[in-house]
Amino acid sequence: MNTAQDHSEDVTEEPIPAMQQILDNPFLLLFIGIAMPTVLYIVWGVMEIVGIPVAK
C-alpha cells in the first residue's frame, strides 16, 4: 500500500454533487440537447403549421 493510493481513496469517498454528475455525462447532455429543441421548437412549431386551415 502506498500513500498515493490512500490519497485516491480519499478523493473517491467524497460524494460527487448531482449537478456535476449530470454535467459529466455527455450522453445525458446529448439527450437533453436534442429533446428540448425537438419538442419545444420543431414539434410545437410543426403542429401549429399543420393546424393552419387550408384555403378552399
Binding site: 449537478m19 456535476q20 449530470i22 454535467l23 459529466d24 455527455p26 450522453f27 447532455l29 446529448l30 437533453i32 440537447g33 436534442i34 428540448m36 429543441p37 425537438t38 419545444l40 421548437y41 420543431i42 410545437w44 412549431g45 410543426v46 401549429e48 403549421i49 393552419i52
Partner: protein
C-alpha cells in the same frame, strides 16, 4: 481486428500530447477550412464591391450566384471544417487520448470534402443561386442539396468520432474527474451539432427529392421552420466553439484559470438547453406561427442563452484579470488590461472577438430577437451586419487566434511574417467592426439585404434612400476591403507557415507507443489552468473589478440601445 494506433508525441514547447492519427486529422480538417476561407474571401470581395453603390461591380445574376457561394463557403464549409478540427483537438489532445476510429474519421473527412465540392460546382454552374437559405419553393439543382447532405453526413460522423473519443478516454482513464472546461465547451458544441445536422437532414432530404421530381410539394413555412433549426443552430455550434477557444487562449497566453468552473459549466449547460430554441427569431415576421411559440422560444428561452453568453463574456476577461493581477499588474482598475500582450496575435484576436461579439453581435441580436422590434430591421442589411459581428468577429477571429497557437505546436513550423501577424487581428477585427456597424446603420434606414441595386433603377415601385444610406453603404464597402486585407494577411501567414515555414527541429523527437490502454504521461503540464489564487489582489473586495466595470458599461449600452429601438419603433408608422 485491426491493430489500434497508440503512437503519441509530446509537444516540447507546450507539453500537449498528440495522438498520431488525431494530429493528422486535425491538420487536414483545419487546412480544408482555410481553403474554404480563401474561396469565400475572394467571393466576399466581389460581393462587397457590388454592394458598394459607387462601384456596383457585378451584374445581377453574378451577384446572386457569388452571394450564395460566399455564404456557403464561409458559414458552412470554413467554419465546420475548422470546428471538426477543434473537436478532435479538445477530445484527443486535451484528454491525451487516442482518437476513436481514425478510419471512420477519414471517411467523414472525405465525405465532407466531396459534399463541399459538389455543392460549389452546383452553385457555380449558375442554376442554384438560391442563397444560403435556399428557401423552397425556390429550387436549386439537385446537386446543390446532395452536396450539402453529404457534407452534413460527414460532419455528423465526425461528431460521433468525438463522442467515441470521450468514451475511450474515460474507459482508458486518460484523465480523472471531469473533463477540462475547454473540452466541456466542445461537448456543448458537438451536442448542438448533432441536433443541427439532424434537422438539416430532415429538411434537405425531402427538398433534394423534390428537386428530382420525386416529391410533389414542399410547404414553404414548413421548410423555413425546420431549415432554421439547422441554420440557426449551426450558429450556436460556432458560439459554443469560439467561447471554448476564448477559454483556451486565456489559459494558454496567461495561464488563466476559469474564475468558477461551476459557473462556466452551468453557462454551457444553459446553451445545451436553450440556445437552439432561439432559432425561432428567424420566423418572427412569418404569419402562421403563433406569438406563443415565437415569444416562448425567442424571449424566454433565448434570454437564458443570452445570460449564458454574458456569463462567458464576463468570466473570460475576469479570469485574465485575475491571472494578470497575480502576476503583479494589480494597480488601478485597468493596469491588467493595459499590460496585456497586445502584440500577441492569439490574445488580440481573442480579445477583439470577445468585445465585438458582445457589444456588436450580442446587443444587436437581442434587439432583433424581440418580436416587435424585429419589424424595424427585418430583411434589411442590418441582419448581415449583425451576423458578421457574430460569425466573423466572434467565431472567425477567435479561430484565427487559435491558429497562431496551433502553427508551432500542431504543424511544428515557425510562424512566417511575425511582424504582419501582430497587426493582422487589428486590421481584420477593426475593419469588420466598422463594416458591421455601417451595415447596421444602413439597415436601420431600410436598405435591403441580398439586393443587387439599392437605387431600384427601372423598378415600377421605386424608393429613394436618403444620402446617408448611400454614404453608409460606401463606408461599409471601404471597411469591408480593410477586413479583406486582414483576411489576406491571415492567409499569407498561415499558408506560408504551414507549407513553407521553417520546420521546428526537436532533437529527440519521436512518436512513442503508449502502454496498452494508457496514454503516455505528459511531460510538464500544459498551460491550461495553472496558477492558484494569490492572497490580496483586486480592489474593494472584488478580485476582478476592471471586468466588473466593463460589464456595467456593457449593460448600460445594452439597455440604452434596446430602449432607443422601442422609441424608434413608435415612429415607424405614424398614427396621425
Amino acid at each position: 481486428m485491426m491493430a489500434v494506433n497508440r503512437l503519441f508525441r509530446t509537444c516540447p514547447s507546450t507539453g500537449l500530447v498528440y495522438h498520431e492519427a488525431a494530429e493528422k486529422l486535425i491538420r487536414w480538417n483545419a487546412v480544408a477550412g482555410v481553403v474554404s476561407l480563401l474561396v469565400g474571401g475572394i467571393l466576399a470581395l466581389l460581393v462587397t464591391l457590388t454592394r458598394w453603390p459607387a462601384v456596383h461591380l457585378l451584374p445581377a445574376d453574378w451577384f446572386y450566384l457569388v452571394l450564395t457561394a460566399h455564404g456557403l463557403d464561409m458559414l458552412v464549409f470554413w467554419i465546420i471544417f475548422f470546428e471538426i478540427a477543434v473537436l478532435y483537438f479538445a477530445a484527443a489532445v486535451l484528454l491525451k487520448c487516442r482518437l476513436a476510429t481514425p478510419r471512420i474519421a477519414w471517411v467523414a473527412f472525405w465525405l465532407m470534402i466531396l459534399g463541399a465540392i459538389i455543392n460549389n460546382v452546383a452553385v457555380f454552374r449558375g442554376d442554384s443561386s438560391v442563397m444560403f437559405t435556399s428557401y423552397a419553393p425556390m429550387g436549386a439543382h439537385p446537386a446543390f442539396y446532395l452536396g450539402l447532405i453529404l457534407f452534413a453526413v460527414g460532419a455528423l460522423v465526425a461528431c460521433f468520432v468525438f463522442f467515441g473519443t470521450l468514451v475511450i478516454a474515460k474507459s482508458e482513464r486518460t484523465y480523472t474527474g471531469s473533463v477540462p472546461l475547454v473540452t466541456f465547451g466542445a461537448v456543448t458544441a458537438a451536442i448542438i451539432a448533432v441536433f443541427t445536422i439532424a434537422s438539416g437532414a430532415i429538411i434537405l432530404i425531402p427538398t433534394f427529392l423534390w428537386s428530382l421530381g420525386l416529391v410533389a410539394h414542399i410547404d414553404s413555412l414548413m421548410y423555413r421552420t425546420v431549415w432554421w433549426a439547422f441554420g440557426h443552430s449551426s450558429q450556436q455550434i460556432n458560439v459554443a466553439a469560439h467561447v471554448s477557444v476564448w477559454y483556451a487562449i486565456a489559459g494558454v497566453v496567461f495561464g488563466a484559470k476559469p474564475m468558477s468552473e461551476k459557473v462556466s459549466r452551468t453557462a454551457f449547460f444553459l446553451y445545451i438547453c436553450f440556445l437552439q430554441l432561439a432559432s425561432a427569431h428567424h420566423l418572427l415576421a412569418d404569419p402562421g406561427l403563433t406569438s406563443n411559440w415565437k415569444i416562448f422560444n425567442t424571449s424566454y428561452a433565448m434570454y437564458l442563452a443570452v445570460l449564458a453568453s454574458m456569463v462567458h463574456g464576463l468570466t473570460v476577461p475576469g479570469a485574465i484579470e485575475v491571472a494578470q493581477r497575480e502576476k503583479g499588474y494589480n494597480r488601478g482598475l485597468f493596469e491588467w488590461l493595459r499590460k496585456a500582450p497586445w502584440s500577441h496575435p492569439s490574445f488580440s484576436a481573442m480579445f477583439l472577438s470577445l468585445i465585438g461579439f458582445g457589444f456588436l453581435g450580442g446587443i444587436s441580436g437581442v434587439m432583433m430577437g424581440t418580436e416587435q422590434l424585429n419589424l424595424i430591421i427585418h430583411n434589411t442589411i442590418y441582419v448581415p451586419g449583425h451576423f458578421h459581428a457574430t460569425v466573423v468577429i466572434g467565431t472567425t477571429l477567435a479561430f484565427m487566434g487559435l491558429t497562431y497557437f496551433l502553427i508551432p505546436t500542431l504543424f511544428r513550423r515557425e510562424m512566417m511574417f511575425p511582424g504582419m501577424a501582430k497587426w493582422q487581428p487589428y486590421v481584420f477585427g477593426l475593419g469588420m467592426m466598422s463594416f458591421s456597424l455601417f451595415m447596421m446603420g444602413a439597415g436601420t434606414l431600410g436598405v435591403p439585404r441580398r439586393h443587387w441595386d439599392m437605387t431600384f433603377a427601372g423598378n415600377a415601385l421605386g424608393y429613394e434612400f436618403p444620402g446617408t444610406a448611400y454614404l453608409m453603404m460606401g463606408i461599409m464597402g471601404i471597411s469591408g476591403i480593410a477586413a479583406i486585407i486582414g483576411g489576406i494577411m491571415y492567409l499569407l501567414i498561415t499558408v506560408g507557415s504551414v507549407f513553407l515555414g521553417k520546420k521546428i527541429a526537436t532533437p529527440d523527437f519521436k512518436y512513442v507507443a503508449a502502454k496498452d490502454g494508457v496514454a503516455p504521461k505528459p511531460a510538464p503540464q500544459p498551460a491550461f489552468g495553472a496558477s492558484g489564487h494569490g492572497a490580496s489582489i483586486g480592489m474593494a473586495g472584488f478580485v476582478a473589478p476592471g471586468t466588473f466595470v466593463l460589464a456595467l458599461v456593457f449593460l448600460t449600452s445594452f439597455i440604452l440601445y434596446y430602449f432607443v429601438n422601442w422609441k424608434y419603433l413608435s415612429t415607424v408608422w405614424p398614427l396621425s
